[in-house]
Symmetry: C2
Subunit: 255 residues, 2 copies
């Protein structure tokens, strides 16, 4: 497994595809466990709690604990905590984001007036009022954060609007560019490395999507491993200038 | 009143501001009525029926009939009718849009599968499911129309998200640019002129907002009258290259 002391690993397209586990990826993680190499699953999904994410992996037969999961919601909560742990935060999002903010002891307000931060993650219960509250706060000077900028969510029904599309309501209306906590930004990777307690020079980012996983690693200045099990094909990769450190067709090739 | 045979007149900022009538504008319309010069109120608001708009004007003491109102919802319905009167349409919007489509006998579907058009207007009851349905249809090839692209709505609470912000969810997620029916596009003006039965060379567009009202007139190739009673100040106007044909501080100056 080369000499990396820690791994950051993407989920969708890397560990599983939709409702099917990728067996080679499961075997890869079991090898990491056997070799006692620490790792974290790093996901842009802000809707689930770490335990829910871990449970999904266990349902696929992949050993996983909640402590091994780092979500974009946790990155957002960590960022706000570092900036101002007494901040008042207006949030749009689901259980995962609420949980992450609570874990950091961050004060969530339900009326956006006086908010120091607006943090917006995927919310299938989105309403006009939530968007209006967010816009008013951002116009009043609240710092505007999104958990991730993914514009389309792959589902059984087809590509549905992702958080980057939903939050464009706020971005477009207030003409304010949000601070993005998710991949391909470095911040989620840097926070995950901090949690793992391993320097970027000793770690590697593993994922199937060049534009999110690999770019996040490149932006953080760490080594990267692209696996062609999901979004980015060999043909796509040939057209990109900044290559990942490694690329493999399957994680079974990684030794 | 110069020699114009017809007037297209904006509402918010031109006839009233928020909850207050602009008296000079009311007097201006009464002069048009006295001189028997035809006119239409042309509004980007797609949420109200023509009768609701007329009632609001009457509440301000301005004589108004529903036949004198032309909304962006009517422009959208008119456009779809001209393109394909048997089209299946998936709509997001409020009563004004539904009414306009019904008036043209257009078939509204509640499941977007098989939609020929997606038409999206302001909808304070927006849901993730409505946006998802719209995205799926646009990705499947439905023509994507918005009633207007206004990004912010002035309200007593402050600037809230407008239709151009709400529909950016669909635009960003599907990477499809919508066909905009509202001002500043020419289409709403051209349809209003058709309804008025007057050529663009004999008509003038009156409004307070350079970027919507005046641009719509300029885009349609007709004369324009900017009134500094709302959005665009004298100072703003000085910075724009394409000037309106006329500008006045108040419609009482217009003779």
């Amino acid at each position: 497994m080369k000499n990396y002391k820690g791994y950051l690993i993407d989920l969708d397209g890397t560990m599983y595809k939709g409702t099917e586990v990728i067996e080679e990826a499961a075997a890869f993680v079991k090898r990491l466990i056997k070799l006692e190499i620490p790792y974290l699953y790093v996901t842009n999904n802000s809707t689930k709690t770490p335990e829910q994410v871990a449970q999904k992996l266990r349902d696929f037969g992949i050993p996983a604990k909640k402590e091994e999961v780092f979500t974009s919601a946790m990155a957002a909560a960590g960022y706000i905590y570092e900036q101002n742990k007494d901040a008042s935060v207006y949030m749009i999002g689901e259980e995962g984001l609420r949980y992450a903010l609570h874990e950091k002891g961050i004060h969530i307000i339900t009326d956006s007036e006086g908010a120091d931060f607006v943090v917006a993650g995927m919310d299938q219960q989105i309403t006009y009022e939530k968007l209006a509250q967010a816009c008013l706060a951002v116009r009043s000077g609240a710092k505007y954060i999104i958990t991730n900028g993914d514009t389309a969510l792959p589902t059984e029904r087809g590509l549905l609007p992702g958080n980057g599309a939903l939050t464009s309501v706020i971005t477009v209306s207030t003409q304010t560019t949000p601070l993005n906590m998710g991949k391909p930004e470095a911040i989620i990777v840097e926070q995950a490395l901090k949690l793992l307690g391993i320097g970027k020079e000793d770690a590697i980012m593993v994922g199937d999507n060049y534009h999110t996983d690999i770019m996040a690693g490149l932006n953080a200045g760490m080594d990267t491993l692209l696996v062609h099990s999901g979004v980015t094909t060999l043909e796509h990769l040939a057209t990109y200038e900044n290559k990942p450190t490694y690329s493999v067709n399957s994680l079974s090739e990684w030794e």
